[in-house]
């Protein structure tokens, strides 16, 4: 028996896949194949998945239109969530405010002015309950964009679900939980790297055992790129972090095939159209090869890199903000042609403020135009086979491999150790800052044009957009709410739960999730749980460098 070719295997998988209803033809009636390629080409749904993880791609299911939202109090954000669902959004993604991301309560002095500003303020289980009130969590998946306190937020989510009678095993969603890129790029950290990784390990092993529908980490290049990296650095650092989490889980006693299928990825869609598409294609190929050959994964799902995309916030301009709609549309199209599983499109006003409801709706409509009007969903990997795109994909892979070699060397053969040491030695941070500086110089010299910023300035003086205003009223409301919860709860129970958490944190072999869930149920605050852990783990201070 001869071995099945990629083309034959793709065809077999495609024939077995359920399809959306409707005709797969051009607007003028020309019938379209589900994918195109030479007999000996790579095909979608077949290792190494350069052309997509599914044989039928968007013919079976469109990407999830997952809009990231959060501001003010949990009640405010709940209203925006409902608006997104009414407008046809198919997934939710929660943005938390700075105090929550840093593990601080709203009434901490450092939280002043930040409560509910750039995300929703969450202090206790009571807020989590308000956040998801009236939303059917069984039929809409939820992503929670939080990292340092990710284990605490997961505990609150589980506690809230169980209080409302939903078994934790039924919960579907994603925790960002990618602490490595926080030290490298986004800079929202609390504990030192190695102690943080213990919490990540605890969430991976806990969800592997008890929450089969949960994605434990969304390994995120988005923030690395937003912080200024090149596309190749975004690709390489993100996948290296992914390898590090796999090694961490294996150290924690899981097999590669128990952890890899539950990692998802999150990439930026910047404005250089073909480079972005090549980046996504290279990402899938690299992940598949490394999982299979380097880490010995046998389950095909371990080889398949699934990813979320967000258009590039940094590409948007405060000048002539309406033109950001065009930038976002082009970036979103790159994500779709690159085979993304879900997509957030930025709003035109994001260089000015948090999105207004109207701006957010236009951003969602942009996705709907791509999905339902352009017909790009009929053919998987439509740019595959282009000499240009294939060559750029190979180049991305080469650049990433060169960076992996360096990271692996820093870790003496371990990607986990290489990523941690690269952070401790400021290597990632320095590379990203260098790339950001080079790019900025090209804008300042005029070598690179940004419409409305260094060219085509007519219209810059037009009336400004109506933007969302977060008032101090939200901060006052949240403080009153927190006061009330502290007043109503049983402090003895809280103390008991926090004492147990402190005790268990001292033993690195104990999984902290059960203690965190029990603490959440006593209405212990995010800040109380995080500072209890900080008593044991210490706090991380980045050495300032320019």
């Amino acid at each position: 028996m001869t071995e099945e070719s990629a083309q034959e295997r793709w065809r077999r998988l495609y024939d077995a896949a359920p399809l959306r209803s409707g005709e797969f033809a051009t607007m003028s009636g020309i019938p379209l194949a589900p994918a195109y390629g030479a007999d000996d080409a790579e095909y979608p749904g077949v290792y190494p998945y350069t052309r997509g993880v599914h044989a039928s791609m968007y013919r079976t299911k469109l990407w999830t239109m997952r809009m990231f939202a959060g501001f003010g109090t949990a009640t405010d954000t709940n209203a925006r969530f409902r608006e997104i669902i009414r407008s046809g959004g198919t997934g939710l993604s929660t943005a938390f405010d700075m105090p929550t991301l840093m593990g601080l309560d709203s009434d901490e002095p450092m939280s002043l002015g930040e409560v509910g500003r750039c995300g929703v303020a969450i202090d206790t289980l009571a807020d989590v309950r308000d956040l998801f009130a009236g939303i059917d969590l069984a039929n809409i998946t939820t992503s929670m964009t939080i990292n340092s306190p990710a284990a605490v937020m997961l505990a609150m989510f589980v506690a809230q679900a169980e209080e409302s009678g939903v078994d934790r095993a039924l919960l579907g969603g994603t925790l960002q939980n990618d602490i490595l890129k926080e030290y490298q790029a986004q800079k929202e950290f609390v504990f030192p790297p190695r102690q943080s990784m213990r919490l990540v390990r605890d969430t991976i092993t806990f969800t592997a055992g008890e929450m089969p529908k949960w994605n434990s980490i969304s390994v995120s290049g988005y923030h690395i790129r937003e912080a200024g990296s090149t596309a190749a650095e975004e690709l390489a650092f993100t996948l290296a972090n992914g390898f590090a989490y796999v090694e961490l889980a294996v150290q924690g006693g899981l097999s590669v095939d128990e952890v890899a299928p539950r990692l998802s990825f999150f990439f930026n869609a910047h404005i250089d159209f073909f480079e972005e598409i090549a980046k996504y294609r290279a990402a899938r190929r690299i992940w598949a090869k490394w999982m299979k050959d380097h880490y010995g994964a046998r389950d095909e799902r371990s080889w398949q890199l699934r990813f979320h995309t967000q258009t590039a916030g940094v590409s948007l301009t405060a000048q002539q903000p309406e033109i950001n709609i065009a930038r976002t549309a082009i970036e979103a199209l790159a994500g779709v042609l690159g085979g993304t599983q879900s997509l957030h499109t930025n709003s035109m006003d994001e260089a000015l403020a948090l999105p207004s409801e109207k701006a957010a709706r236009i951003a969602l409509r942009t996705q709907q135009i791509i999905a339902h009007e352009t017909n790009v969903t009929n053919v998987a990997d439509p740019l595959g086979g282009s000499w240009f795109v294939e060559s750029l994909t190979d180049e991305m892979e080469r650049e990433a491999e060169a960076l992996f070699a360096h990271i692996s060397k820093m870790g003496e053969g371990s990607m986990l150790e290489g990523c941690v040491r690269g952070i401790e030695e400021n290597w990632f941070q320095g590379r990203i800052a260098d790339s950001a500086y080079e790019l900025e110089r090209s804008f300042n010299s005029g070598d690179r044009i940004v419409v409305g910023v260094n060219a085509f300035l007519e219209g810059n003086d037009d009336n400004e957009l109506a933007t969302l205003q977060i008032t101090n009223e939200d901060e006052r409301k949240q403080l009153a709410r927190l006061d009330q919860v502290r007043h109503d709860r049983d402090d003895e129970q809280v103390k008991h739960a926090l004492d147990r958490l402190r005790r268990e944190a001292q033993d690195p072999d104990v999984n902290l999730m059960p203690a965190l869930i029990d603490a959440a149920k006593t209405y212990a605050t995010v800040g109380e749980m995080m500072s209890t852990l900080a008593d044991v783990f210490g706090r991380y201070v980045e050495v300032p460098s320019l």
Partner: protein, 130 residues
């Protein structure tokens, strides 16, 4: 003598791309730049500015807390008897600029501000008689 600038991140906002890029651009323009790192308080910024004897303090804020925190930095300096001017860059809606100026912020640089504009403005502010 070259100008000395303290660039600072106040509060919980970890976005440090802008501050690092601007710091390097100011150095390219011949200024001496001091950076005290993330998560500073208004008080720690004021003390560092006075101790380092800088000509100007540059804040970078992208989380929306500028209306609360930028005036507190100005206040912290003035209460210590210092007249060091404070400038601000980041995501600042145009409607906030006038009020920030009234609260003592000497200049505001929104997204897309070029290196030449920032350098010229800072140089102009510092050369004003106080």
């Amino acid at each position: 003598m070259s100008l000395r600038v303290l660039v600072a991140k106040v509060g919980l906002d970890g976005h440090d791309r802008g501050i690092k890029v601007v710091a390097r651009l100011l150095r390219d323009a011949g200024m001496e730049v001091v950076y005290t790192g993330l998560f500073q308080t208004p008080e720690s910024v004021a003390s560092a500015a006075i101790q380092e004897d800088v000509n100007v303090v540059g804040l970078s804020m992208l989380s929306g807390a500028h209306m609360t925190l930028a005036p507190l930095v100005v206040e912290a300096l003035r209460s210590r008897g210092s007249d060091i001017p404070v400038v601000l860059g980041g995501i600042v809606p145009p409607r906030d600029i006038e009020e920030l100026r009234a609260l003592g912020v000497a200049a505001v640089f929104g997204p897309g501000s070029g290196a030449d504009e920032i350098v010229a403005t800072i140089t102009g502010i510092v050369s004003l008689p106080s």
